[in-house]
């Protein structure tokens, strides 16, 4: 081991120089390679993440408009957000409604289909591929364009409903339904959490089910007592990832509403509102404050999930 070690301490010893290497040379051999390999990441982290983050925190206390230099306005932006901005309130309602309905429904679908597929169905790879495809394509502008047509007044959905004699509304331009079309679009992409559920189900040892069935446990009992508890780490992972994604969703609402968030702000996602403020009206200071509010919400949600996770997520050992 020592004979072939490549550390500087040994080669120094072999050359008959200092037997105890200096602090600096030890640091060089031990720490330098790690930091050198991380160099691109460090530049990115400080230059594109941490630096901009702090800058945007500063800008959120200013009236920056991209053209003139920023003036400090104290808490004005935040005060306005929470007390005098009906569009902020509207976009919050829309975003939370979207998250609260799309994430659980999507995960429920994903889990149900994964359970069905996990019963050793024939044709599993084919089904899995078919269900996975939409989640690869779904983020595309093309799909949002398609959705706009599907749920239009004379769209395919209403053609289908007409077969049963139902006259559907124009889903996209009716504020009661427009957000639901986006929720349906999100559920349509249940494939990627489904894949993760399937992988999680694979890891549950079969002998637990055999033991349970010898004890005469019913299928539903086995689901509640074995499958679901052992799957909670995967449920947790999927829920966190999908929720953060849902908060960040932008493209579908942008395309379906033509960038407006209409009808009557019913699809005004928070990200869309922020985009309008920043790049429509160039209220960059205000938009920075909006961004920090979003960060606070996402951080609060993530923190809350991790804190509560120890009460319902079962990690073995």
């Amino acid at each position: 081991m020592t004979a072939h070690s490549y550390s500087a301490a040994d080669s120094a010893a072999k050359l008959g120089r200092a037997v105890t290497p200096s602090f600096w040379s030890r640091m060089w051999t031990r720490d330098a390679p790690g930091y050198l390999f991380l160099l691109p990441w460090f530049i990115g982290f400080f230059g594109l993440t941490l630096g901009p983050m702090l800058t945007s925190l500063y800008l959120s206390f200013t009236d920056f408009d991209l053209l003139t230099s920023p003036n400090w306005v104290g808490m004005d932006n935040y005060t306005r957000i929470f007390t005098a901005d009906p569009k902020f309130a509207a976009s919050m309602r829309v975003t939370f409604f979207f998250v609260i309905f799309s994430v659980p429904l999507k995960l429920a679908f994903a889990l149900a289909v994964a359970l069905l597929l996990n019963r050793g169905m024939r044709g599993l790879p084919l089904y899995r591929a078919v269900f996975y495809l939409p989640s690869l394509l779904g983020a595309s502008v093309a799909i949002a364009v398609l959705w706009r047509q599907l749920f239009a007044g004379d769209g395919v959905v209403n053609d289908f409903l007409a077969i049963f004699g139902i006259e559907g509304p124009s889903w996209i331009s009716n504020p009661r339904y427009s957000l639901w079309t986006l929720i349906v679009l999100s559920i349509w992409q249940f494939g990627s959490p489904m894949i993760i559920f399937l992988a999680g189900l694979r890891q549950i040892p079969q002998d637990m089910y055999e033991a349970a069935s010898l004890d005469g446990a019913s299928k539903s009992r086995m689901f509640w007592k074995i499958t679901l508890p052992l799957l909670t780490p995967v449920v947790f992972f999927n829920a966190v990832i999908q929720t953060i994604d849902a908060f960040k969703s932008f493209t579908p609402a942008f395309i379906i509403s033509g960038g407006t968030g209409n009808p009557i702000n019913s699809t005004l996602f928070y990200t869309l509102y922020l985009y309008q403020e920043a790049f429509g009206f160039f209220r960059m200071g205000y938009a920075s404050a909006l961004a920090w509010v979003l960060l606070a919400i996402v951080a609060a949600f993530t923190g809350f999930s991790f804190l509560t996770s120890k009460y319902w997520v079962h990690y073995d050992e």
Partner: protein
């Protein structure tokens, strides 16, 4: 014991056939449910594809999937539907995606190697920060980044979309690669180290050659996500000659959609084709890649 045995088998035998019957019914029902679900899932895509091949007057009049006559008119109209042809948009998108793949593979694997294999002070601290950036909403860095790139004169170039990839900005791929590297036996590095290999040689000659699955997964996902990206190009590209396919589609919606649905659907279908091809050829990799992210190991 011996006398009761035959009676028992008779009873279980009857039970068996009932159970088998129930099992078969259940399996048929499951297949039926899955097939209906599959059709519902795919119908929108197939409908769009078929609409793109229909004669213009037939797009909305007929609800069958099979067009009465096939026509490529919509593709020709759509391709040249804007001031600049979609050929330019496709080329721009491909250039951005390929550079993004190179950047992500090179720099994310360097960072992942450091996190997974090298010992240095502060490693777990930086690793935790890296994981933290996974949760960070991009809006928090958006405006200063925009100001920075504008100051550098990078607006209307592909640089704001590509340079971050060369700085390992996609923490997801670092995470994915760290997971994979940790699965490679450490004895391999130790052996190489004893033979006098530097960390760089271990990275280049030992780990990377063993990591083609994760590199391919990261490459394919980078392609798909860069190809689909709408927000970045929307902000940084305003000259139509620099547009990506997604921006081209959006412009198409705004300018001509009401009159030319056929052209719009044709270009939409075409824009999904590269992703579909990747899906077709790398399905296994994509599914395994997604599956491992949710696992602890």
């Amino acid at each position: 014991m011996t006398s009761s045995a035959p009676r028992l088998t008779v009873v279980t035998g009857a039970d068996d056939s009932a159970a088998r019957w129930r099992k078969r019914a259940l399996s048929t029902a499951s297949h039926a449910a899955l097939i209906i679900a599959s059709i519902l899932m795919l119908y929108p895509l197939l409908w769009m594809l078929s609409a793109s091949f229909r004669p213009e007057n037939e797009i909305f009049s007929s609800s069958t999937l099979w067009p009465s006559s096939w026509s490529l008119d919509a593709y020709v109209r759509g391709w040249n539907g804007l001031r600049v042809s979609f050929g330019t948009f496709f080329l721009n998108s491909f250039i951005i995606a390929i550079l993004a793949i190179i950047g992500n593979l090179a720099t994310c694997s360097l960072a992942a190697f450091a996190f997974a294999r090298l010992e240095f002070r502060g490693r777990s601290f930086w690793f935790a920060l890296m994981l933290g950036t996974l949760m960070l909403p991009y809006q928090v860095t958006l405006i200063p980044q925009y100001v920075l790139f504008q100051g550098l004169g990078w607006i209307n170039t592909i640089l704001p979309l590509v340079v971050p990839k060369f700085l390992a900005a996609d923490a997801f791929f670092i995470f994915l690669m760290v997971q994979f590297f940790r699965g490679i036996p450490k004895e391999l590095d130790e052996a190489a180290q004893m033979d006098g290999c530097s960390p760089w040689r271990i990275y280049w000659k030992v780990l990377l050659p063993l990591s083609t699955p994760v590199l391919a997964t990261a490459g394919v996902f980078t392609f798909i996500w860069t190809w689909d990206d709408f927000f970045g190009p929307l902000i940084y590209l305003s000259d139509i000659r620099t547009y990506t396919v997604m921006l081209g589609l959006r412009t198409f919606v705004d300018s001509t959609a009401q009159s030319d649905w056929g052209g719009l659907f044709a270009m939409s279908s075409l824009s999904l084709l590269p992703i579909f091809l990747f899906f077709l050829f790398f399905q296994r990799l994509l599914i395994d890649g997604i599956a491992t992210t949710g696992m602890k190991r």
